[in-house]
Symmetry: C2
Subunit: 385 residues, 2 copies
């Protein structure tokens, strides 16, 4: 059986379809996690992440830890915050709310700003909040996977750096890294958290993050020790530094196969200019947006400038149920995801269009999915009024 | 390139060599983590873990979470302990000490019992400690990967259940599950933690654990909320229960590829009686032990009954350095690990003999490694006195 044997095309907002070479790397023969071969692969992987995040500041520190994207929230909450400190959470859906829950689990005092469903907090409100209270950090979800709402992290970081320069700017980039631009140094960002299985195009199982020198300094300046072990950045930092210096090091066993797959995925990404990759994701997102409009439907994201280029959340016609349309899509070889935002979960579907499905010219996943959506809605008795 | 293309045989105490079918599963095509196909695979995997751990009590709860074995320590420390509560840690090396560090990171008061290097705490001392103080839980490292010392967890659990029945018995089974017997129900164990990349024979990247109904009750009876998010058993429990009931569920994205590989590995293990598997690991360990004796060398484990069947830690002859012998072994296609226990790290090597290298009759990994060790020592100028 080929690992890529015929299968429905996975167009949910992560995991995504994988390049054959990436999947091949997943079945790499067994290696020691401290052997010279794997150490070189892991070190190279960490260095490539610096390029992906567009940071050349040697004080920036990448981390790759076995786990899911959610573990990235714990890294921030456990290491950058001390119990009782204040965090400002900008929420544009389920994942913004989740970050707030995680911060509170570690004892942070959280103030949450949110927009309406399909919207995001306004810059004026963010600046006001930052000027009225001292926040150790603010979090912003770059693309909220529940709504497909894109936040303008460049403007948010600029506002924070201006109004409250001591506040750390933390970006949840789970559904944005490798498809939306993130200029880590230039935009003044202190942390970006992501996962392997979205636009990076590697199977799930890795928590990937980048922290600024300012964030590391905040960690070192803590008055209390972080109450975590596996998520302790202090314990992982020398390990990551050693791997990148091609020296074996041990805290907890990494997954050589997943690291090989990530290495392959990053090489594919970095073989072309990042700007081209971001542009291609924009073009594909615009195509999906036009198809949605042509069908007489609306996206969950209310404003045009808030629509992500990673995925599109689409309101179904009134009389068409999610449970009716998803099986019809599957019959046509396409997998979309159902809704996740609790206030509207039964009313919309999510169409992921990132990674190889967007950038590999040999694939026509997105065109095929648009056609399948049109046909499925038609079979459900829907026609544009 | 075949994923299993010619490579040196990995005989460290994890990761281990993998069965071809397990590696093939690693490159499974992309699936939704909430799609029916993957949900069935994950559910079946959880049910198979009950058989591996020999528990038929429906109150027992398996967990499989992206992470390393170390994350298992956090599960215990964050969920079963509240800050200020007391834990008794039985240490037979680096990993017993690590568990103590993790418990302390979460605010536990730790009492540590340890034997000499190569030994373990004595049962009488354990009983005495349990009778003198009230401990919320005790931890015992079944096989300490740094020393190859095997603990008698059946006797430890029996002693704890007799002397201090309210104390939870927690076993670190990272280097023992699937090669040393663990009768979870019969022996009165409350938690076993392990990782995917050791005797289970799946690539690294999964934290695997089993908790008793008593442990779950202790979690529910907490006065304070656990200060963790990703390691929160309360958040994961309904997810695991839903997957096992074949219902989609979401807290954080699991790794479909690793779960497929684990599923394949467990099917291979459970296709034969577990007793046969444990017996085979004993035979292989005895063969290694005899070879060590024949070479005039000593194992780090002092007493015969304390020698694990997963791995053997072997003191090198006085004049042979670890850095001299490991490259010679590699020349012969064999990878051993260096030492890890800080007091003796430069004096010994570790030989892992678990998983397919022990049980697959088509392989002669262990015989080849014994021969390579003999030749390498000879090349280093060593001959038995």
């Amino acid at each position: 059986m080929s690992s890529q044997s015929a299968h429905p095309t996975l167009l949910i907002p992560g995991p995504v379809e994988f390049d054959d070479g990436v999947l091949q790397s997943m079945s790499h023969y067994s290696e020691s996690h401290v052997g010279a071969g794997f150490v070189a692969t892991f070190g190279e992987t960490l260095s490539m992440l610096r390029r992906l995040f567009q940071t050349t500041n040697s004080a920036s520190q990448p981390f790759v830890i076995s786990g899911s994207g959610t573990l990235g929230w714990d890294l921030v909450a456990a290491n950058l915050m001390e119990p009782g400190e204040a965090a400002l959470v900008l929420s544009s859906g389920y994942f913004g709310d989740g970050f707030a829950d995680c911060l509170e689990a570690y004892g942070a005092k959280v103030t949450k700003l949110e927009g309406p469903v399909g919207g995001k907090p306004q810059l004026a409100d963010i600046e006001k909040a930052l000027s009225q209270n001292k926040y150790k950090l603010l979090t912003v979800t770059h693309v909220d996977t529940s709504t497909g709402v894109l936040s303008d992290i460049k403007s948010v970081a600029a506002a924070a750096n201006k109004v409250s320069p001591e506040t750390l700017v933390v970006v949840d980039g789970v559904c944005s890294v490798a498809c939306e631009e993130i200029a880590f140094d230039e935009w003044g960002i202190d942390a970006v958290l992501t996962a392997s299985q979205k636009a990076i195009g590697c199977p799930a199982g890795l928590c990937i993050s980048m922290f600024s020198g300012r964030a590391i300094a905040a960690l070192k300046a803590r008055k209390t020790e972080p109450a975590t072990y596996f998520a302790s950045m202090k314990r992982w930092m020398p390990i990551m530094q050693n791997y990148e210096a091609k020296k074996p090091s041990y805290f907890a066993t990494p997954s050589p196969q997943l690291i090989h797959a990530l290495n392959t995925a990053l090489k594919l990404i970095l073989a072309r200019p990042l700007s081209e990759r971001f542009q291609r994701h924009k073009e594909v997102a615009n195509k999906v947006r036009k198809a949605v409009t042509d069908l007489g439907l609306k996206t969950v994201a209310i404003n045009d400038e808030d629509r992500s280029h990673a995925m599109t959340a689409i309101y179904l016609p009134n009389k068409v149920a999610v449970t009716e349309v998803l099986p019809k899509l599957l019959d046509k070889g396409v997998i979309f995801a159902g809704g996740l935002h609790k206030e509207i979960a039964t009313k919309y579907v999510r169409f992921g269009h990132m990674g190889v499905s967007a950038v590999d010219p040999k694939r026509n996943d997105v065109d095929m999915a648009i056609k399948a959506l049109e046909e499925s809605l038609s079979e459900c008795g829907y026609s544009k009024a």
